[in-house]
């Protein structure tokens, strides 16, 4: 039994890699530049909402979806989730006072969260 244990551990070790997103995908850092670039609602935020937050055909956050009851399809509806309590950001950073989003999965990627945070901090404009 001891032999099998040690052989299995050696098997575990052979699967080890030392990777990070910034080196694997060099555009990861530039795409995520939220300090020198103004984040645009139309260019940056809508694609994140479409791919990560369920807006589009029959998706969770379409207006009128009874499961979520929160629409995120229009600028006005997104803004309503930012003011006054900023539930929008709190839910995607998994703040315990809100329901963690996306539902049942992990967080959005770091870059998307940073973009949304930057957009909100700069006045959540319809730009």
């Amino acid at each position: 039994m001891r032999k099998y244990f040690f052989l299995s551990v050696i098997g575990f070790c052979t699967g080890c890699y030392y990777d990070n997103m910034e080196e694997l995908h060099p555009n990861f850092a530039t795409v995520c530049d939220t300090t020198s670039v103004t984040i645009s609602y139309h260019t940056d935020i809508i694609p994140i909402l479409t791919s990560g937050c369920g807006i589009g055909d029959n998706a969770c956050h379409n207006t009128g979806n009874s499961a979520s009851n929160i629409g995120l399809e229009t600028y006005t509806s997104v803004k309503a989730q930012v003011t006054p309590n900023n539930f929008f950001l709190k839910s995607i950073v998994h703040d315990p006072s809100t329901s963690a989003m996306p539902k049942g999965g992990g967080k959005l990627d770091e870059c998307s969260i940073m973009k949304i945070e930057s957009w909100i901090n700069h006045g959540y404009l319809n730009n």
């Binding site: 244990f5 699967g15 890699y17 479409t50 329901s99 990627d109 870059c111």
Partner: protein
């Protein structure tokens, strides 16, 4: 004369053979003292989140349900975390000989599927000839999430497959000091194949301790802490700490506890605990264990 000598020689040999047989049977009848191992240093294979040095018994299957609620500081509207979000792990764990153990499980947070191996290298004896127990642990974890941002960012975070994997190792050293008090210390090491930033390290390590204090025949108070040694990320993480109450009822063991970690497997709670005790970032949780002898 010669014949007489041979006769006596044969008689003597025969008698000596009888004597030798008597001595051998006498030795066989003397009980050889058996090495007796200290039983139940901990009641089950987990304390709160962490593994204990225990393995399940020979040919025993352990079905485990672990559950964590949302954090207490989510307020009364969220029933102090009871409304969620919740994290659940279902696990099946088995030992063929009571010493080597393996198990699989599935955790809802990050949709992690895990497998682990455990081996009791040394076992404490009641005579004191072995004062400590030492158990080796190795676990592998696969995140089964989909990359929701694949289309917008132009790549899949989880390609190649190895990006999904992380591993954990522990050496658990412990002792049952009295029938009601046990303590274990365990150096731990976690490896992540993929981390986010270039400044993040793929390896995290530290030292964990778990302890159990029995106060009735069937109940105990438990405590665990996992200290992180190296600076592996700029993201703010905290040491995992849990306090629990353990109740044994026949084949079941119930564990109810408060802990700041939301994750239920080693790659989550050792290095990625992101809430802390001092602003009530703790949560109610429970483990249920049911063993079946096969």
């Amino acid at each position: 004369m010669k014949l007489k000598n041979i006769f006596f020689l044969l008689l003597f040999m025969d008698c000596s053979q009888i004597k030798a047989q008597d001595l051998l049977s006498l030795i066989d009848s003397v009980p050889v003292p058996q090495k007796e191992f200290t039983a139940a240093t901990f009641k089950t294979t987990r304390l709160v989140d962490q593994h204990t040095l225990e393995t399940v018994g020979r040919n025993t299957l352990d079905f485990r349900i672990s559950h964590r609620f949302g954090s207490l500081n989510s307020g009364s509207l969220n029933a102090w975390g009871i409304d969620g979000p919740v994290d659940i792990r279902l696990g099946l764990e088995y030992s063929p000989d009571g010493r080597f153990m393996f198990g699989i499980g599935r955790t809802s947070l990050e949709k992690v599927v895990d497998g682990f191996l455990k081996f009791r290298l040394l076992r404490q004896t009641t005579s004191g000839s072995m004062p400590l127990s030492v158990t080796l642990f190795a676990g592998a974890y696969r995140i089964a999430l989909k990359d929701n941002n694949k289309a917008s960012q132009g790549y899949d975070k989880y390609k190649p497959e190895t990006n999904r994997w992380s591993y954990a190792y522990e050496i658990m050293i412990g002792r049952k000091f009295t029938p009601s008090f046990s303590f274990q210390v365990a150096p731990w090491f976690v490896h992540y194949n993929l981390v986010e930033k270039i400044t993040d390290k793929n390896d995290a390590y530290g030292v964990a301790c778990v302890t159990r204090l029995k106060f009735t025949k069937r109940m105990a108070i438990t405590f665990e802490y996992a200290y992180r040694i190296n600076d592996y990320s700029q993201t703010k993480y905290y040491d995992s700490m849990g306090i629990g109450w353990e109740i044994e009822t026949g084949g079941h063991v119930f564990q109810v506890h408060f802990i700041n970690s939301f994750g239920l497997v080693e790659n989550q709670f050792f290095a990625h605990t992101d809430t802390k005790w001092n602003n009530a970032g703790i949560r109610l949780g429970f483990n249920v264990s049911r063993v079946f002898t096969l």
